[in-house]
């Protein structure tokens, strides 16, 4: 009756298992180099069969230990080492199953009460009556598959919504196409700028707050829309400068319909208003830059689309088709972007973003500091001053989080992981709640004790 157990707990099982695990791992690292980290985590390290091999090793170790029961003095190192490893494996499986891992990204002065997880979802929101649906996508685990044909369906207020993702690019390169085919007023101008052998083409959109102007070399290039000659006169008659210095300002007058260019010198004084025509170049008087309007569309349509750079997971984008009843809308969506769909009386917002998980407290970033090695840009240390508040328990306290000094609260540990530089500094905290850690650490200590007893007891080598 004991025989099958003898075999299960024998070295004849243990050694091949060890070698198998080593082989799988070696293959896994090569698989990762080829297909990416997300893929290897899903298809190798996190797969049921690999977890199965690890569990089998635990069973083998446990059987080997129990077969020698009752344990004698000489068995101590062996039993300790094996129990320790079983605990480590158990802790690992527990952590993988019940642990939480994510990031808190908090700009200075703001607070957050949720984690960003390292997997993405398509979220469908209907603000009225307030419905939210999330679909896990996992496209990043199969980054080589550019045509996933994934279908997501949900019932919303006013009907059924069907989403089909027919393109996924893990490292997507954004492009845009501006055409004359718009339905509404949206003045756009295409400029060719050149100076000393350099030439650039830029599009300016008068009604887009982020794209009505650009900087080119020393010049500020703007595109403005004015109602009539009166407004133009008003602009010229202001005593204080209304335009930036060294500028090339293109103006579209709605009535009478014509284009003009205004230039300013280093003191922002307007030098003159000159009519311009598409295709005819002009020169900035003081900078000497040449400019040419190569196209002008009063009703421009701006279309965004993506191409794939390669299969690294870097800046993701999907193309989806939303269908409800007879209506079909197709659109590209980069990660962290959203689109609003007309959906009867109740518009729907679709977001492609990392999954989010709430935590039972909120963290406010009071101050973030980075210190460099003197005379370099290399960070010597960075730290965040945060205020944690937990309204449900009436707890509020301040704490400094730095490298190797995490904040621990209610089973969660918040670590200083990274930062984003900018006008407003943003800290990135990695957050972890792992119930397996005590098992793993106890396992470490027991293995260590086993090794120490091995060295103090006599060698059993033959």
């Amino acid at each position: 009756m004991l025989r099958p157990f003898r075999f299960l707990g024998s070295l004849k099982v243990a050694v091949p298992t060890l070698v198998t695990i080593a082989g799988v791992l070696a293959w896994g690292t090569i698989y990762e180099a080829r297909f990416g980290t997300a893929a290897v985590q899903r298809f190798v390290y996190g797969s049921w069969w690999f977890q199965g091999i690890l569990s089998f090793l635990a069973v083998n170790l446990a059987t080997a230990a129990f077969l020698r029961y009752p344990w004698k003095r000489k068995h101590i190192p062996f039993v300790l080492a094996h129990i320790g490893i079983i605990l480590i494996l158990t802790g690992g499986i527990l952590g993988g199953r019940f642990g939480v891992q994510g990031q808190m990204i908090i700009p200075e002065g703001e607070s957050s009460d949720s984690l960003q997880l390292d997997r993405n979802v398509l979220a469908v929101l209907q603000p009225n009556p307030g419905l939210t649906r999330e679909f896990e996508t996992r496209f990043e685990t199969t980054a080589w598959d550019h045509a996933p044909h994934a279908l997501f369906e949900t019932d919303l207020e006013g009907g059924r919504l069907q989403l089909v993702v027919d393109r996924y690019f893990s490292n997507a390169d954004p492009h845009e196409e501006i055409s004359d085919a718009g339905e509404r007023d949206n003045p756009a101008i295409h400029l060719t700028l050149s100076s000393e052998g350099h030439e650039d083409d830029i599009w300016l959109l008068a009604r887009d707050r982020e794209r009505f102007g650009a900087r080119w070399g020393e010049a500020h290039v703007l595109f403005l829309e004015l109602e009539d000659e009166k407004e133009l006169k008003q602009m010229r008659s202001h005593t204080h400068p209304v335009l930036p210095p060294d500028s090339i300002v293109l103006i579209w007058l709605r009535s009478p319909d014509k284009l003009a260019v205004v230039t300013t010198g280093p003191k922002a004084v307007i030098s003159g208003v000159v009519p311009v025509k598409v295709g005819r170049p002009f020169v900035h008087p003081s900078l000497g830059y040449r400019a040419k309007v190569s196209a002008f569309y009063p009703k421009a349509r701006v279309e965004e689309f993506f191409t794939s750079r390669d299969d690294e997971v870097r800046s993701e984008a999907v193309r989806l088709t939303a269908r409800s009843g007879e209506r079909t809308v197709q659109s590209w969506l980069g990660l962290r972007e959203s689109i609003t769909l007309p959906f009867g009386k109740h518009p729907v917002i679709i977001e492609y973003r990392p999954a989010v998980r709430p935590v039972p407290f909120s963290v406010k970033l009071l101050d973030f500091r980075k210190t460099d090695y003197p005379g370099t840009e290399m960070a010597a240390a960075f730290e965040s001053d945060v205020e944690l508040s937990d309204p449900s328990r009436g707890v509020t306290f301040k704490k400094r989080i730095s490298m190797n000094n995490p904040l621990k609260y209610r089973g969660y540990s918040l670590f200083q992981s990274s930062y984003v530089q900018g006008p407003k500094e943003t800290t990135i905290l990695s957050v972890r709640n792992d119930p397996g850690v005590p098992f793993v650490y106890t396992g470490f200590l027991i293995v260590l004790a086993g090794v120490i007893t091995l060295f103090t007891s006599k060698s059993r080598m033959t």
Partner: protein, 557 residues
Amino acid sequence: MSANHGFCRLRVLPPSVLPPASLVAGFLLLSIVLIGVSPVRAETKISTETLETVRHLAIQQGGRVKPLDSFARETIDRLTGSPVWKGQDPVETLLSILAEPDRWQEEPFLSVPFGPLREALGLDRRTKHVSYSELISTKKLMRMLPAIVEKQQRGEKLTMLENETMDLFDRFVAFTNLIKQELNLVPPPAGERIWLPVRQPAGPRAAWEGFIASLKQSDPAEGIGGARRLEQALQAVNPPAYPARWRLDLEVFYNRSAPFRVARLLYLAAAILLLLFSLKGKPKLASAGAVFFVSAFLIHAAGIASRVILGGRPPVSNFYETMLWLPFVAAVLALIFERIYRSGFFGFSAALLASILLLLADHLPLDSSISPVVAVLHSNLWLTIHVLMVVGSYAPISLAMVLAHLYGVFYLQGGEGHPSLPAVGRFLYRAVQVGVVMLAAGIMLGAVWANASWGRYWGWDPKETWALITLLWFLALLHGRFAGWLKGTGMALGTIAGFFLLLMTYYGVSFYLVGLHSYAGGNAKPVPPLLIAYFAAEILFIGTVARKAVIGSRRPV
């Protein structure tokens, strides 16, 4: 004036936010304007005393205050790919560049080690160096840069060619800084940390200019006087901020004495003597070997200690230092084992290993400068212990590998009956045992550190995965030996094979596996011919021993 991609959005108006391409172009323009063209002059001769004084001047560079001697070595190394240019003292080369910038701009001096880059720049394919003025006149480097910088800003990985291009640009900038005499030699005012450039108006600029002028004189006394006056003027700016004399002395002494080169020769002598002792058994050979071994060890230890004192950081913080630490631990273990077994085999193995590794450390393209460590590695006890332990665990495994070769050689010589086989086999087993324990402890310490620092104790990162693979392999070997499936020969061959895994963990993961990933597009780093030769030789050795074992007996090997 902005270069190729000249616009950013209007919302970021401040003129300081110019795209990097314009910086590059600006740099180029500025350097051309500043340098001008003037006739070539005869070479300067600088007296030894002047060099000695200048060598000990303190300079802040790369986040650290160091003697000009180190700065000169590192700079010449960075620019030319070798710490010494045409057999000249690096400090002399440096001073010569400062005194005669025009002549040095014509010298093919900047290293372009990557063939495809030479081709892209339209240079002679055979020469590995290009002159500063040629680099400017071809204009090709500057045209290649904006696209690379843009790619870098998007956070994309660069290809080999692009990386090498950026490296060449770094050399170009470093040389530009040299000829513009951008040297932070002036100690900061009280309360500040950043040293000031020597040519800034408020500082001891007159002393500097006097010194540079004196270099151009033929009279050596002028040079010495100029150097002394400069030294005094610099110290006088803020004496408390100036580094202690002994620190500068120690670092110059460290640079000059090259302790690891001395140690590796002594180790080699010890290895030869101890091998003779193990074979012939003459006690005199053993004591002579021990003397060489211990003196090598002491110099080795002193070298590591100097680096720790000077850098103010743990003994292992870059790849070069792992190559110093590994043989150090091997020597410590050999000393301990020799106290117990008194065989000479451990001493021989450790000495041979140390002499080879210290030789490699100096001849592989590794950064041997004592530069500051990245934020994660800064003053971190757990990490320090983890790194010391893991790199330390490579030592007994490497020792076992050398012993395994000894075992194989003895086996080929005398078969099962060779008198030294049982002892070597036992030592080999011991070394693997120690290695497994240390590696396991190192991995666990790494897990503790990762958990304390990143919030996860295990993440299947390629480096940690390969460490685990190595551990599992040697655990399997120990268990196989324990069960009696493997005898001494099998253990020896398994150890040699296991050393491949160790090499993968130690070296391969950082350079190839991550490399495969980062150089996606088929530009993985080429495997050095040395490594290929090593693999081939080892496979041949394993094959030969295994063949004899299989033919010689039907019993387990």
